[in-house]
Subunit: 355 residues, 4 copies
């Protein structure tokens, strides 16, 4: 059995990790920490775990994390970078980080987007960016895996194939990512913005320029394409709790002749045999394009696209994930499975609900 | 022109009052106070008033309320009872109170339900309970009108006719009011309970026994029936922002023979020519019973019922209102119109939206 | 392996059965029929099954159901009664019926509530009413199990314990069940009532008297209490897709002295060790009472209550289930497990999502 | 008084027109037609009009429309073009068309987007495109006004100012319009796509390339900029009933130096004194950008933007309207007011609700 500690387990990401791990046959949950809720039963924060996990929250400072084989760090940005370096020095332990602390390779980009100097830039280069579909082999060998931001995951997964295969024909300076996202992405702390009377029924842009996840998307698309890429991302809060749909608008130069089928082939080849990538493409019916509703609770990324020509060609790419699963805790468990040599889909087989 | 001051105007009830009063041809808004948002533009809290009301919030303590002909007090429970007594001593002013401070006639009931001794019991007997359909003549002459609680308004309006006419046949000790209510009733202050990820998609009972509005319903039904009445109320939070449906279950003794039509006649006679009472009764179609969706933004109370006999007879009564309008600010404006001899429907004619 | 056929698999109940059965280690899905969608891929109707079930719908008339060990009949009311009698004559097969055809023991009640004479009244007495918590031993031996109506399941499960233990003190003639229910209960066929612009944002009573599920509740509560019981049920459509909250209002005679704790003991004793019954009772926090949101996708029935005394005593009982799981397909799989001697929780362990 | 007939009044656009016109002091509703609901009371389809409009639907074929001063045609696409030409030949009548039949000036574009040859191309050139803010003087003199498509209105109004003033610097071949829209835009006829269990909780792309409203946007932006423009539009169905947010992504050439304030000036100059255009721009608070929730029921178009530079510059423009008001019936009434010399805001002053 793998002994796992969850640091910062009272939030939504922590709760979702627990939901997945209580069903994981190879994992034993050793510690569940929350500085704010020390001594409180876990199910008081996560009511779906009532009867399934009879634990109380501890303080990170009072437990011996070196007893764990792996820790998941679901603490606020800027927190894990303060305790992870010492921890990995002291113990033989793997770290799966769910914050933004180890996602960016380039310390300057970190400084630019997070307005602070990263204290451990060498860990930035060690940490592996936790999209299994792009970095599987590195993840298997990693000591630190940095799970991607939810918006970054949705866009990156859906764009990587064409940025790899069509980099010479894509207008890499004019990439639009227009995302729609649920309220759980704001975390478990109430605010005026998440107050139900204000949050229900809205379509509200937020951080429409300069969103931090942009840096991750650019980093990954540059790696896969081998060229500089500039992404303009605008997220919108919509009236769902879970789920993201990222709609990316990508221009091709007018000269390339490429059919719908050829693009499908690019996607199929790139993601051949991936257990959590589904292609959504139908000529009729309601399910012709990805829709986050169909992936709620699952680790799937549903990808689809359409193409339009008017002199300039546009590919519009759709990517639907559950921000708390494939965009956070599910990716983390998928990475755990890889790091410990377990069947990759373990604990991640929930098929989702309809309707 | 009537000079009106709104005390506590940053909340939802205050904002709704402003929405109605900016369109009221006989009212001039003199003061808009909020201790928390002094100096802030009103439209920053109430975005629908952008361009319509170019005022800033003042402090109640720095404005001379005696300049007003009327003040609306939309402050938290326990607040208006502290400043209204002095105010009406000092100035020739009318008060329309939207808190619970002057609703109950019986000081003991106040103490029981609000866990404190009322400091001005004599004002309790002076204040008129602000349901125009029940107390129109008294409201016209009142100095203080206490607008009803939103749940109380929905249940009382729909039950008064049968409690007047059928008091001898109703089981007055077993009256059930099962209410469904939107999130705006919780007010403008965020909390864990109103955090969108927690509040969306729920059907959640709250305060299922001993709810404070019960005291108002009992008071009014006792007055109209001339007999003691015991009401058991259970509200439920549902995923709407505005609106209440109160479903009341009333038992008749088995011996009475009464038809559907006779009950309708009771309602029609009781509410003859009332501009804001609608009877919802249709044999077919989607709109056979009241539904709060159809009254959002309006001052209507939609009433309907059905009757069922199995030895014991039950009348199930439905009442739909907008908690912020007929359940608060709309009732307040209706009362203003009566108190100042203005056409009762002034500023209250919005017909509602469909769909 | 158990060979299972699902008759009428294109609807929501059929789809939910498939979702559960594709993960069931002891079941092989042999046939999936739908007269309307013959030849269509299952995932075109049930998009969550894409990649998990590569089958097409067949016609019931062209497949040999006698090859199955069990069939689930998820056809409209009045349909399974026409083909099940012949089927069980011809084959050695078990039937788990999800329609209303075999739920009522008393043929006269069937006639009264369904306006037709039941053609096989002897099968009514053979069929076992499929609430495992009440009829487990009979279900194990049954050839036909009739899964309860969703509203009936929610009310019956939550009321049975007190109707058994307190029958002498409950006012059995004045039982109110006030239910709130999601849109999936209306089935997969569009109508004006389920058109999103009409169905969103509503709290709409429907069939507020004489609802068919009342007959089932009365049947079961009479059996458990040993006395005649009269139930008045009023369902309300609310803006959720899945889930039911049934709020039952039960009067006790004034003389009985009974504490909160004694009632809890009654519930705990009655449902000792039941895997799918949870008691929701907390003094603080958001999760003090049942809420259907917390059981979506699960087979749980969450039960809670409160008690109020004013001369007459009222117990208000809350029961939350997912109408498609514990109210339909989950109950069916639980019954299957019992009928075939499989661990009762197999394929039913999904813990639900939060938030 | 102006006598008005509403042709096709049973749909949502027709109902919304009636809601506005019953409050219009200068208009008398003469005829309300619906071929499907002849003889039915209007409030059976439009429950918000109960008590306000005691009319029944007639057939267009049995009423004498020449008695009207103006008709609103809210019939399906392809219908008004069949009866309007004869009507305006026979009577001295003005026509405000809410279908797509007279929106496009170029008959070839009509053929291309609607797959049919327009039978009266000369009426295409006569009809005035009904955005008052762009064509006010022509509307005043028009005999036929073609109200814009709702998506077209939202995008066009928000883009026209910068396409006029910055045409030389905008990348006119790469204009993205990414729209989010409510279910009422699908009309009043139920379908699988609008069935509540399928439509609730979604973010679903539809017609992501080649949407018909694109042709209108291109037509208007070309007129205002004086140059060819190519628009790539992708709408998404989101879980609201009313409302559109169109997010337009517009690229500027890298050389232009332009500040936030200069862009605001362009907007302010272009829409100086417009009663229904609001600029949403705040440095803090919840209401920094347009949000359709704040315009529900109103005739406002709320416009905002942000600018981002990374070599290439992007302006992201937000536009929020109620699809049934500024996107249909409200625009129609605004046009009526202009055509008949009435104060332009008459019957259009509802300020919207918050929350």
């Amino acid at each position: 059995m793998i002994n796992a500690g969850i640091i910062g387990a009272s939030g939504y990401t922590g709760g979702e990790l627990l939901r997945l791990l209580v069903m994981h046959p190879e994992v034993e949950i050793s510690y569940v920490t929350s500085e704010r809720y020390v001594g409180e039963y876990v199910h008081r924060l996560h009511p779906n775990l009532k009867g399934l996990l009879q634990m109380k929250f501890s303080s990170r400072k009072t437990v011996d994390l070196c007893n764990c084989d792996v820790i998941f760090t679901a603490t606020p940005h800027g927190s894990s970078m303060s305790y992870v370096p010492d921890l990995i020095k002291e113990c033989d332990i793997k770290v799966i980080d769910l914050s933004a602390d180890f996602r960016l390779k380039n310390p300057e980009k970190y400084d630019e987007y997070y307005n602070r100097t990263h204290p451990n830039p060498q860990l930035l280069s060690e940490a592996v960016y936790g999209i299994a579909e792009l970095h599987r082999e590195d993840i298997k060998k990693a000591r630190i895996v940095a799970c991607p931001g939810c918006l970054a995951a949705s866009a990156t997964i859906s764009l990587a194939p064409i940025f790899k295969e069509l980099a010479d024909h894509i207008d890499l300076k004019r990439v639009i990512v227009d995302s729609k996202i649920g309220s759980s992405a704001a975390g478990a702390t109430p605010s005026t913005a998440t107050h139900h009377p204000h949050r229900a029924g809205i379509v509200r842009p937020y951080k429409p320029t300069g969103h931090r996840h942009t840096a991750e998307i650019e980093q990954e698309l540059q790696e896969v394409s081998g060229k500089p890429v500039e992404v303009f991302m605008t997220p919108h809060a919509v009236d769902i709790v879970r789920g993201i749909l990222s709609t990316s608008h990508v221009f091709l130069d007018g000269e390339i002749e490429i059919s719908d089928n050829e693009i499908w082939k690019i996607y199929r080849n790139f993601y051949r045999d991936e257990p959590f990538i589904r292609f959504i493409r139908d000529k009729k019916g309601l399910y012709r394009y990805p829709n986050p509703k169909n992936v709620i609770g699952t680790n799937y990324a549903d990808i689809g696209f359409d193409i339009e020509s008017k002199g300039i060609k546009r590919i519009v790419v759709f990517s639907a994930i559950d921000n708390l699963v494939k965009g956070a805790a599910g990716a983390a468990v998928q990475n755990l499975n890889l790091m410990f040599g377990i069947e990759e889909t373990t604990a991640l087989t929930f098929p989702g609900l309809h309707p």
